[in-house]
Amino acid sequence: MKNDTINPITLQVISGALDTIAEEMGHVLYRMSFSSIIRESQDLGAGLFDLKYQTLCESESTPMHIGSIPAYLRGIEATLQGGVWHEGDVVVHNHPYYGASHTPDLAIIIPIFHEGELVAFAGNTAHHIDIGAATPGLIIDVGDVYAEGMLFAGLKLYDRGQRNETLAQMIRTNSRAADQLMDDIDAQVASARLGVKRFQELLDRYGRELIFAATDQLMDYSEKRLRQEIAAIPDGEYRAEGLLDDDGRNRDVPLPVVVTVRIEGDNVTVDLTGSADQTPTAYNVPFEGSCKVAAYAAFRKLLLDTYTADSPVPSNEGSFRPVHVIAPKGSMFNPISPAAAEARFTQCNRMIDLILQALSPVLPDKVIAGSSASISFASYAGLRDNGDYWVFLEVNEGAYGGRPRSDGPDCIDNLMANTRNNPIEDLGMHLPMICDRYELRDDVLPGAGRYRGGLGVVKSQRVLTPGFITIESERHLEAPCGLFGGLDGATGRNLIYNEAAPDKVVEMPSKFSGHATSTGDVMVYYSPCGGGYGDPLERPPETVREDVLDDFCSRNHAFEIYGVVLDDGLKLDIAATQQRRDDIRPQRSR
């Protein structure tokens, strides 16, 4: 019976049931949780996994989490307290050298027993605001992984259903945000328990043999869908490279990222050889839990685009199998313990952007121009009057590059990131902070092109108590690149000033740690803007005029770059535009 195939109808039924379970797990987790990074940003992932640690299904939450839990499970196997899974166990795990994505992303894993036997796992990961690192919230400029805070490896928070109060108290005692940390862990436990219950119901209904035959076949199906797409790309090596600003301490040392994409039949290898060596700060990427996950995500976006696909591809292990990742030991993408490795997001996002640039000659209809490919992860913290810490983590958005059939979206989470922002009003009601500005940038324009790049955001946050700011961002050095004649986008900026002296502005680097602030200090983030796709002279003049009316383009920029002539009333002068375009076209091609 094992070798039999399941008919496609039963398969569709089980696939739908698995998706629903994963969604429900994610839903419960973010609705129940307390810290804004989970409840508003939804920086989490949840799903079910088989005994080979293959993903059976995963919630549509944040891509960085999707695909990371199998690595956690392999790490837990190596470290599991007592070495044996029992019914009722709940494991907490975050060790980056045992598979974790990075230390703040705690996994909660519960084994699923059916008729007395271990058959699968329900689990989730969520970003916690403070696990007792050297600085509040985020952490960049530290010497090793032990400075990142508490490390959990295969620890049982519940042993056979019995809560380990010693461990719980230990966790509480070591966080600046003890209540939020512990309550959010409890929310994770509730979500994983729901996954256990729902999967057991499914097993009861269809039987274990049928379910696992179905999940195997669903993974094969997803794998086949991706392999078909890879096989359609001409075999060969495709390369792109870029520079990251710095490691958050050594300011004038840019860090190369070199991406070689090797297509061989229906397999693809992402080779990061040639990228920077591991850094002395936390600006490193855990290989298993983050680097590989980013490469998987790149090919799902590129080749199994859910917006353009005619039928859905189940979210499971199958889509990871054709993708192989190489990063030399001791490099930024595969650090050696005890190197710190908490700040890993911008490298991952840049890797994806470079994979797209590398493949642009052979996939011009699928790739997009350079995106902000960054993130702005901000940690604001301070002390309340009663001596308690307040800690707030914020994920700020970026912008997309122009695309083969449409403009790059403005001010939106980019590539691996897909969180939600915090309502300014909710923030103001609960934290000693005020948002002073949140709108599109007006100091630069996005990359011009037949399809323009997305315009980035500017956000100003004012703190009302003394405290600390840590920022993890990128792209102050290299702007997102234009493609096929499109122009480059714009770099990002970080500024700090005090509201009492708004003219005394300090330009900050893209990454800094534990910067001490005074009451009334304002941190201003300008996100990078996307590059353009295709020749700006081919953008329809009426579209350029619409951009001018909506301030996505200036009248002068329309003239200089797009060759579009508008009169004082912003009416389109068609003849003059034709003439202007004819004049500049030969100069451009030179």
Binding site: M32, S311, T419
Partner: protein, 714 residues
């Protein structure tokens, strides 16, 4: 004092007329259907009313009330065909509507669309920032409103030719003084257009959602207002002096004036009637727990009602056309699964049904109107569950052969299945998709479907009823009388209903007597506002009922749950019942309570209801012999059931059935626009009002093995 309900759908406008003993024709119910006129829905509506009155032989002047379910606002939103809206907002925050929650609609996509950027409710050129600043947490003014800037902006918007203006300032839920003043100034400068402020449309915290709701109100507003005014005028031209009431998204009725003031409340006017209608027919057999499943050509609307109560969506989840709208909307899940949903095999051999639909044109392959792709209707035809020659009363000229050919070419041959197995597969997949949606509407909301009856309606609903009930474990199926006009019937089965809200953030555990008194005073103010509106509509005090709700969360959470407030003044004693009710609700919904956490009040909501008379559906004559159904028997044909057996199955004319009659499966009950299936082993009972209750009978212990698992391996 006849009453009339008129529901405008995508294809047809359905009407129902209820007359009473004091009418010249006596008490009765009359139905009618005319094609919808989408360019101007009022043409079809008025035509339908006039024709129905002729049919019923009553004068249009005898109609005292018309209740209307409209899709004018819905279509304006979905087709992005609304007003040119201008917006004044706080300086520094011009693009809140453009940024949204900065989350992409797709995780794994490079080519995704961002609807709020590509189809904005307010174009960026019309979003103008003015200087003003109100600060949390107390609403104090940090920077006064610059009135000259407001004047300049209003003039610019006037010059840009906007049809409506919204005033959306940050923290206006704490202090609306700036919004009110700016609104006044805009009205002075542009007196002839609609001007709304966010604090009157949705007086709640969270800027993007509040602004978006206000923008949607303005986007659909002028169109809705024009339509309703035109309809009123046309009715009056026809000498119809009936008072006109509109179904709102929350399942309650409102006057024309209220709808013109808050058009955003009518966005789900259409589907709301179906849910109310489902409830009304279930009520006739004393069933308070139902899963209503309204299946049309392209989509299915699913909603759960427990204890006869409509579930209202958590306003955090309510969106229309991908824009958040913080208005009370019946909690309904809509999925792309209906009679016209297309089945196909994808490039990697995966089998899918929907969401793409053949719609009414070209329609299912069996119609012969040019459709070549197999649909759910084609699968039902091939299996003999729908008779091609009787579809829509036989007017279509549909054939079984065309359905077979489409299924053979597109599904059976590529997958190596027989046509029958392929057709069964199409139904299993589409039923499963609907069952998953029913579970999301029930299990995922803490509702156990085993305690619920499944009520399928809409033209395509009843044929799927038993399979869906079995799949989700519902206790039985109720098919309402006239399933094609359930939504129109629902219009005559509900109350006037208004809701008002105010965000008032307070930690309830720590609140002292003063703070509780503030909360109580606010509740009283909201109640007064609601009651005044109902009085203005002519509702007598005795018919008014108030519901007071606290939307709470644990301090620090992001999502609120609704708790009923105790009667009487809120004080330090009864606030404990609110706190405990919240803990209990949290545990019920999520499976866990944070016993030590502080409970925070976020929003107060008052719902005022004005009772209206409910549709009185006539009783059927009682059968002389429950088992003698000969008078209704049409003919017998082969029908294939879910286990693959083909059985000779009698067809009965539903119109000829009497109350109390019992029909054992296999059987099919046919009426003009709908077909009900009674599978083998199930039994249909006609109830006194003509509902058909179809339930699975206890098995005779014949087939012990589980056919589902056996058949799953091929």
């Amino acid at each position: 004092m006849a009453r009339l309900g008129v529901d405008v759908g995508g294809t047809n406008t359905d009407l129902i007329l209820e007359t009473f003993a004091d009418d010249p024709v006596g008490a009765g119910i009359f139905q009618h259907k005319v094609p919808s006129t989408q360019q101007d829905q009022s043409i079809g509506v008025v035509r339908g009313i006039v024709e129905l009155c002729e049919k019923a032989a009553i004068s249009t002047a005898d109609i005292k009330r018309i209740v209307h379910g409209t899709t004018v606002a819905t279509n304006a939103a979905l087709e992005h065909d609304g007003a040119n809206v201008g917006m004044l907002t706080t300086r520094g925050f011009r693009d809140i509507l453009h940024i949204g929650r900065h989350k992409r609609p797709h995780n794994f996509s490079l080519h995704f669309d961002v609807p709020w950027q590509t189809r904005p409710l307010v174009k960026r050129r019309n979003r103008l920032a003015v200087t003003e600043r109100i600060l949390p947490p107390d609403g104090r003014i940090e920077t006064a409103l610059d009135e000259n800037e407001v004047r300049a902006a209003a003039r610019r918007l006037r010059d840009n030719g906007v049809d409506a203006v919204i005033v959306c300032f940050l923290f206006s839920f704490l202090n609306d003084a700036h919004e009110r003043r700016a609104q006044e100034i805009v009205r002075e400068i542009v007196p002839d257009i609609y001007v709304w402020r966010s604090s009157e449309v949705a007086d709640v915290m969270r800027e993007f959602e509040r602004f978006s709701t206000t923008a949607m109100n303005a986007f659909v507003g002028p169109k809705t207002a024009r339509y309703l005014s035109r309809l009123e005028a046309k009715l009056s031209d026809q000498g119809i002096g009936a008072n006109l009431r509109i179904m709102q998204s929350n399942g309650g009725l409102a006057t024309i004036d209220q709808c013109i003031d808050r058009p955003v409340n009518t966005l789900m006017s259409g589907p709301a009637g179906g849910v109310i209608g489902g409830r009304h027919f279930a009520d006739m057999i004393g069933e308070a727990n139902i899963l209503s499943v309204d299946i049309g050509g392209t989509s299915a609307d699913i909603s759960a009602l427990s204890d006869g109560e409509l579930r209202i969506k958590n306003s955090r989840d309510a969106t229309v056309a991908d824009h958040p709208v913080l208005t009370p909307i019946i909690d309904m899940i809509t999925i792309g699964a209906g009679g016209g949903s297309i089945a196909y095999v994808d490039s990697a051999g995966g089998f899918n049904v929907g969401p793409r639909s053949a719609g009414a044109e070209p329609g299912p392959a069996c119609y012969g109107l040019g459709g070549t792709e197999p649909t759910v209707t084609d699968a039902n035809v091939v299996l003999g569950r729908l008779d091609a020659d009787r579809l829509l009363g036989g007017d279509l000229g549909a054939t079984t052969e065309r359905a077979e050919r489409a299924i053979f070419e597109k599904i059976a041959e590529p997958l190596g299945l027989s046509v029958t197995d392929a057709a069964l597969g199409i139904l299993r997949v589409v039923n499963n998709n609907m069952a998953l949606a029913i579970r999301s509407a029930s299990v995922a909301r803490g509702i156990d479907p085993r305690e619920f009856a499944l009520m399928p309606f809409g033209g395509a609903g009843p044929v799927h009823g038993p399979a869906l009930a079995a799949e989700v474990g519902a206790k039985y199926v109720i098919v309402p009388p006239a399933p094609g006009i359930t939504a129109a019937a629902g219009l005559l089965a509900t109350d006037m209903k208004y809701e008002v809200t105010r965000s008032l953030l307070r930690d309830l555990d720590a609140a002292g007597a003063d703070e509780l008194a503030t909360v109580d005073a606010e509740l009283t103010r909201l109640e007064t506002e609601c009651r005044d509106r109902l009085w203005a509509d002519g509702i007598a005090s005795a018919d008014i009922e108030m519901q007071r709700i606290a939307e709470c969360r644990y301090h620090g959470q992001g999502f609120e749950l609704r708790i009923d407030m105790p009667a009487g003044t809120l004080d330090e004693n009864n606030v404990q019942t609110v706190i405990e009710a919240f803990h209990a609700r949290h545990e019920n919904d999520y499976g866990y309570r944070f016993a030590g956490a502080v409970v925070e009040l976020v929003t107060l909501r008052v719902i005022g209801r004005g009772h209206c008379a409910k549709l009185d559906w006539p009783r059927l004559p009682t059968a002389h012999d429950e088992a003698d159904t000969a008078q209704a028997l049409l003919y017998e044909r082969e029908t294939v059931f879910d286990d693959g057996r083909s059985l000779t199955t009698p067809r009965y004319d539903r119109a000829c059935l009497a109350a109390g009659q019992v029909i054992n499966g296999p059987a099919i009950l046919v009426e003009r626009d709908s077909t009900s299936l009674v599978p083998p082993g199930w039994q249909a009972v006609v109830t006194e009002h003509g509902n058909i209750r179809i339930s699975e009978q206890p098995p005779h212990a014949t087939n012990a093995s589980n056919p589902r698992v056996e058949e799953a391996f091929s």
